[in-house]
Structure formats: C-alpha cells, structure tokens
C-alpha cells in the first residue's frame, strides 16, 4: 500500500475512534464553543469577549498555517531513495523577519490590553458612585455584608446575606473582598469577573450588571475539601426592586 493509502487509513481509523467515543458519551461537537458563553451580563463582558476573539483569530490563523505547513513538509519531504536533503544551515534574513513579525504582533497585543486592564483593575478608576458591598469568603460560604440605611459599615444597621449577592442593574457595584481563613476566589462567570480573596487583605473588585436575573457565584481557588460546593447566587434587581429589597432587609435586621 503506498504512503497516501496508509496515511488515509490511519486517519480514518482515528476519526472512527473519535466519532465512536463521542456517540457513546453523547457529546455534540457542534455545541462546543471556543468563545465564552453567550449569557454575558456586565459592562466588561463585551470588551473582554472581544479581546478574546481578537486573540482567538490571531492564534487560530497561526495555528492553522503552522500545523498545515508542518503536515505538508512531512509529506513532501519524506524519505525517498533517490533524494538527498538540501545542505542549508539557515538564513539570517529569515530569522530577522520572523523574529520581528512575532515581536511586533505580541507587543501590539500587550499594548492593546493595557487600557482594558487599567479600566477593570486600577483602584483609582473605580467609579466613585459604585455601590459598596463587603464580601467575606470563608470555608465554604460567601458572607455579603450590606451597610444598611446609614451607609456606614460596622454599624448596628448592617445586615448579612449568606451565599446570595443582591445587586442593582445598570449601576456600578464595588465588592470589598476579604477572606477569613484561606484564599478563595470570587468568580462571576457571566460577568467575566474574578478576584482572589486573600486573608489579611481587602481587595476591591467592581463591575456593573446590564441585565436583571439570577446568575452564578463560584469559588475559583482551591480552598479545602468543600471548594466544589462553595457556590452562590447573584441576583440582579431592577433599581427600584433593589431599593425595596434593601428596605426589607433593613426592617428584618432591626427586628432582631
């Protein structure tokens, strides 16, 4: 059997294995996505998803071109009795060209990134009117503290919400993250938010919801045996509903 027949057979066999196992496990490869889930609900979301897409295109093209080239070389330059390899030690010109191109692409990427990073992380750029919430992470729960009617934390009218974070829509929120025991990580997948909560530190993380609904709060840093159950909910209210909820909690807290 000649080379191409053998390779063809090999590839067919491999494909059969992949398809067979996919059928057995019930995967639909068409459903698998290379971009983040559609359900994005924060102002950061589109920006970050866009950056992801840019990188995906660049790396995707490089991936396809290099792997196909590799494959072509393997086939085209495979050993043949009557052929000898070319006695080439390299090409300085080629080295300069591909080094420069690579360097330019990666540096462009780095600088494109800068503005986005600052906007999300720079403490000086956190909106001044962001609604503050204190979040204390501990094994294995999230304790959100709200300032209550007086707007001050550490006063008698503060109230707690266990594992559920209530926030208003279309308004920046700044979560002051702390941890009681070990490092946890505050992960809101639909918001594209993640920040480690470190014991002994208080780290601000801000975001703005663009849609009402219920979303996921997850822990994204190994924190012990219950790490996998350290989930919670983010409930985004309309601004009016949020004020109602606050008032309700206030009243309940005062009753205690």
């Amino acid at each position: 059997m000649n080379f191409f027949w053998r390779m063809g057979l090999l590839l067919a066999g491999m494909l059969a294995v992949v398809i067979g196992l996919s059928v057995i496990t019930g995967i639909s490869w068409l459903d698998l996505s290379w971009v983040m889930p559609d359900n994005v609900v924060s102002t950061f979301g589109p920006t970050l998803d866009n950056l992801w897409l840019v990188i995906l295109w660049i790396t995707g093209i490089i991936f396809v071109v290099t792997e196909i080239t590799l494959l072509v070389f393997m086939v085209k330059y495979r050993h043949k009795e009557d052929r000898k390899a070319d006695y080439i030690h390299g090409s300085n010109k080629a080295e300069v060209v591909w080094t420069t191109i690579t360097f330019v692409i990666v540096m462009a990427l780095a600088f494109y990134t800068k503005g986005i990073w600052d906007e999300i992380r720079d403490p000086n750029l956190i909106p001044a009117d962001a609604y503050p919430i204190h979040m204390m992470a501990k094994q294995f729960e999230w304790n959100a503290t709200y300032a209550g009617a007086d707007g001050q934390f550490g006063t008698a009218d503060d109230f707690l919400s266990l594992n559920v974070l209530h926030i208003p829509v279309d308004r920046p929120v700044v979560v002051q993250l702390e941890a009681e025991d070990v490092i946890h990580s505050f992960f809101l997948p639909e918001f594209r938010v993640k920040q480690d909560a470190v014991p002994g530190m208080s780290t601000p993380v801000w975001f703005e919801a663009t849609r009402t609904g219920e979303f996921t709060l997850a822990c994204a840093e190994l924190c012990g045996l219950g790490h996998y159950t350290m989930g919670g909910t983010v409930i985004v209210h309309s601004q009016a509903d949020f004020q109602d909820w606050l008032a309700q909690q206030q009243a309940a807290a005062e009753d205690d």
Partner: protein
C-alpha cells in the same frame, strides 16, 4: 575563553578493575549507569503519577461512582469508602499527581537521564567532573520519593493543597484535614532539591571544563546546550524553592508567621516565592526536550539544524526571560494591579524565542529527507503540540483575558499541552533515540509506531477539549462540577475526556512492554544505527567505562548532514579533515588550532 583540553585522569588507559555488583549497578559513579537509574526511577514515578491521574479522571468522568474492582479494595475508608472518592482525597490526588509528575518524573527523566547520559558522551569526556557527587544526586531521589510515598499512609493522608501549596491553606490541617502529610511533602521536596543542585553542578562544570579538543562552544550539540542552560536554571531556582519550603515548614511546625495572616504573615509572599521558582521551573521542564527534538529532527531529516546559532540564542533568551515573568501566575491574586501590565509585556516577549525555535524546527524539516522512525515521529509531535501549548499561552498572557480563564480548565489544557504534548513526547523522542546507545539494542519500530499513533490520538482527544471546558468556565481542582448549574451541561465532555485518558494510560503499556522486551530481545544496535554525527555515536553501544579509548578531536559542528560533496549523508564530528569527497577532490576542514577564539 573556552578550554579545549579535558582533565587527564583515565584517558587512554585500559585500566579496568572489575567492580562488584553493588559498585557497578547500585552505587555506581558511572554517568551512564546513573542515567539508567534515573530512567527506571523516573519511569516508575511517571506510572504512579499517571495512575493518580486515572483516579482523578474517574471521579470527573463518573462523579460519585464507586471505583471499579479491583481498585476499590485498594483504598481505605479514609480515602474512598465503598470506593467513592472523598473530596479531601480528591484534593490529595490532584496535588500528588502534579507533585510526582513534576518533581519525580519529568525532572529526573529530563535532566537526570539525559543530562547524565548525553553530556560526557557528546562533548568527548570520559565521565562527569564529579562522579561521586553525581552518584549522590541520584540516591537523594529514592529517599525523597520514599518520604513522599509515605505521606499517603499517615493520618490525614497526603498533601491536599495543590502542588502549588498556597498558604494559608497549606499551613494547617485545620483547613485541609491534612496534618503530617503536608509536612512530609515539604520535607521530601526540600531533600529532593539537593539532587537537582548536585546534578546541575556537575553538568555545568563538565560542559565548561571537559570538552574534547576542537569542541568549541558552537560545535556543542543542542541537546547538551539545552541541558547546560537548564542546569543554570536549576542552580538558581531550586534554592529559592527550598527557602520557601523551609519557611512554610516553620509556619506549619514552630509557629512562625511568614505566610499566616493570624501572625501578620503575608499569603501573597508565598506565591511570589513559589512562582519566582515556579516559572523558571517550567522552562527547566521543557528546554531539555527542545534539545532532544533538535537532535532528532536534524538527524532523521538528514539535514543541518536550521539556524543553529539562533537556536542557542533562543534557549539562552528563554532562560533569562523566564526569570521576569512569574507574575503572570498572579494576575488575579490581589497583587498590585500596576504589576499586571509589567508581566503582560514580559510574558508576551518570551513567546518570541519559543516561536523562533518552532520556525527553525520547521526550517530543518523543509527540504529534508525525512525518515519516519519513532524518534522522529515523537519529535515532530512535540513541535505540533508545543505550538498549541504556546498559542494557548497567549490568551493567558493577556491579563484581562486571564480574568476569566485563570483557575479554569483552559489553564489545565495549556499546561498539559506543554508538559505532556511537549515534555513527555520529547522524552519519548529521547528515549527511543538514545535507547540503542544505552542498552545496545534497538526498540521495536513497529510497536513504537503503534504506541506513538495511539498516544497521539488519545492524548489530543483528552486534552484538546479541555480548552472548551475552560472557556465554558469549569474551574480547576473541582471534585464535582455538577454542583454548579452552569457546568452541568459539561458532563458528557468530561466523560469523553476521562475515557480518552484511560485509553492513553493503557497505551503506555505498549511502551513499557517495548522498553522491557527490547532490553533482551531487541535487534542488536551497532555503534551508530541512526547515522548521527555526534561523538556519542562513535562509541560502542553501550559505551565502555571511560567512554572513549582515545581522546577524540572535533573538527566540525554536529549537524553536517547531506553535505553535497560527500557520498555519505552524514559527517561525524571527529572524522579527521582531508578526506576524499565523492568527486575525488580533497575536502578539508581547518584544524582546531587555526580556529580563532576557540
């Protein structure tokens, strides 16, 4: 600056006192025997690490299902009652899988085996500069390995805070349920570090001082170069790890508070120390493989390596740049955000030398005369998979994108593409290529190709979809992702991956069988079955004690393949000049003394 005379101790003498069994096979100072000891030890730990991975994937593929018999009876109730893996045991599994793979499999197999085997033989030395220190560097490994294995059997079980052992989680059983196990983990790694340091000392000293006449710096084969650079990384990085481990040990045992916030310690300090070691460490884990791949691709394409000097410069650059990128592991850690951009820039820059190497490997294959033997297949697979691993790294290099994918399976996919797709396939290339020299016999080609094809298939089936898992948000080190509604749809993919891993693991039995069977029944290898140029292949297979009966002299670089004026398509480094070319003309190369600068 380079010295071209080797140390004169045994050279040329046939002096050969018969060594006892223990001196020859157990406590040997011969670098080739030490290489074999690292090989057997490393492969055994590789198998253990793989077994732990299989258990991890059992839980993820079939969550909460009891382990099948006979595995079920192996584990006591403190680990897997009724065969159901407990969450704390799962955390130990992920921790110990990575620990054994990184420290007891990859490092010994890379630096321990090939550093020892290749350096003296490729540079024309009779042994390492410090043979007894070399022996010590091996024997530290079983001691450390014993302690690490023992940690499974103490109360509370083995370490469970991740191989990164972040504080404060790792500082107390209060948080993990692991008490003595965490301490043993630290002690084992503190001890093991000395193995790397002693080995690295030897590699550096030997390459600098013991090269044969004519073996100038830029005639050194790339495999030796890669290990030389790796040795410098080891010498500088391991002490940092050891220091950090000691501080953590003190926090755990004598009440200090370097990292414990209760005592005003700083958890982030641990991360800085660990990753300042950890990032050079990952280059330690891949640069040697890059060296092996260069050797194999050049030899089996019958073509000079494309851009030899660039390859050396690229590896040195990777070595230097590797020190200033550690913060990219800490983008989301709460460290000063200003540092974010600093590390973004340095991280994307380190992509450049890796890209150069990839282009050069492809340039070597271009217009070559490629023989598809097992070593070449593994080497090309390295290139193909390293491309994927490197490109996925670009995503994380961008700090804002990393916000989403940090601590998800996207990272797991990336690290396994570089460490398995890269390092492991590189190790397979190295083993299949240099096995004949070590053991005097060829490994079985047919079985080798089957092992390659199945490994490549199942490996990609398992790890490529992990990128998708990460993109969908699945976190790392998660005992049961179904606890989160947004991850429940990913279970079929997790099961697919798990089954692929089981098949990948089973395929390695073919390699083990090939390895062991060929020791006795493989085709007898001559001196130079691959028709390679390096000094290593001028010796008998296996080489005798002392390697070279006469000190070799080097006349040219290691990649003179397919010279147009020669009938043979290779030109050994030690073949004297003034040989008659195929056209009857005299082909000369300058003798070493005439080469300026050394």
């Amino acid at each position: 600056m380079s010295t071209t005379t080797a140390m004169e101790t045994h050279t040329g003498t046939a002096e050969h006192h018969e060594l006892s069994f223990i001196r020859k096979y157990i406590f040997s100072t011969d670098h080739k025997m030490i290489a074999k000891q690292f090989l057997f030890g490393g492969l055994m730990f590789l198998a253990l690490g793989g077994a732990l991975a299989v258990m991890i994937r059992w839980q993820l593929g079939f969550p909460g299902r009891p382990l099948p018999m006979p595995l079920r009876i192996l584990f006591p109730d403190t680990m897997a009652p009724g065969g159901i893996i407990l969450p704390e045991f799962y955390n130990s599994l992920v921790t110990m899988h990575a620990t054994f793979m990184v420290f007891f499999a990859l490092m010994p197999l890379m630096a321990g085996v090939f550093g020892n085997l290749l350096i003296p033989l490729q540079i024309g030395a009779e042994d390492m500069a410090f043979p007894r220190i070399n022996m010590a560097s091996f024997w530290i490994m079983p001691v450390a390995g014993f302690i690490m294995l023992a940690s499974f059997f103490v109360e509370g079980g083995a370490a469970g805070a991740g191989w990164t052992s972040y504080a404060p989680l790792s500082t107390s059983g209060e948080w993990t349920g692991v008490y003595m196990g965490q301490i043993l983990w630290l002690v084992s790694l503190i001890i093991l570090g000395f193995s790397s340091i002693l080995g690295a000392l030897n590699y550096v000293s030997t390459v600098i001082n013991m090269r044969a006449p004519g073996m100038t710096w830029f005639r050194i084969p790339l495999a030796t170069w890669s290990i030389f650079i790796t040795a410098w990384l080891l010498l500088l990085a391991i002490p940092i790890l050891t220091g950090g481990l000691l501080l953590l040990l003190f926090d755990q045992t004598i009440g200090t508070a370097f990292f414990r916030p209760e005592g005003s310690g700083e958890p982030l300090l641990w991360q800085h120390i660990f990753w300042f070691f950890g990032h050079p460490e990952v280059y330690i884990l891949i640069v040697p493989a890059m060296g092996f791949v260069s050797e194999v691709i050049a030899c089996r394409s019958r073509k000079p390596i494309f851009g030899y000097h660039s390859m050396v410069v690229a590896m040195v650059s990777i070595g230097f740049l590797g020190w200033v990128v550690w913060g990219h592991h800490m983008f989301q850690s709460g460290m000063n955000p200003l540092l974010g951009m600093t590390f973004v820039v340095t991280t994307v820059v380190i992509a450049v030398p890796s890209a150069i190497k990839t282009f050069n490997w492809m340039g070597t294959l271009w217009r070559g005369n490629i023989h598809f033997d097992t070593p070449l297949l593994h080497a090309v697979a390295f290139v193909a998979l390293f491309i994927i691993g490197g490109l996925s790294g670009i995503f994380m290099a961008s700090a804002p994108v990393d916000i989403y994918i940090h601590d998800t399976y996207f990272i797991v996919a990336h690290l396994h593409y570089v460490l398995v797709g890269g390092s492991l396939f590189g190790i397979f290339a190295g083993i299949t290529f240099w096995y004949p020299k070590m053991f005097g016999r060829m490994m079985n080609e047919g079985l080798g190709k089957v092992h390659f094809a199945l490994s490549f298939l199942f490996y990609n089936m398992a790890f490529f979809p992990m990128h998708n898992l990460g993109v969908q948000g699945m976190m790392r080190r998660i005992y049961d992702p179904n606890q989160y509604e947004f991850l429940q749809g990913l279970q079929p993919l997790n099961t697919f991956i798990s089954i692929s891993i089981f098949c990948f693991a089973a395929t390695q039995i073919l390699f083990a069988f090939n390895f062991l069977w060929s020791l006795r029944a493989g085709k007898v290898a001559g001196n130079n079955p691959w028709k390679s140029n390096t000094l290593l292949w001028t010796t008998p297979s296996p080489p005798p004690h002392g390697n070279f009966p006469e000190m070799p002299t080097v006349y040219r670089g290691p990649y003179e393949y397919s010279h147009p004026d020669r009938e043979e398509d290779y030109w050994p480094q030690d073949e004297p000049p003034a040989t008659t070319g195929s056209g009857g003309e005299t082909v000369t190369t300058p003798t070493p003394e005439l080469v300026p600068g050394g």
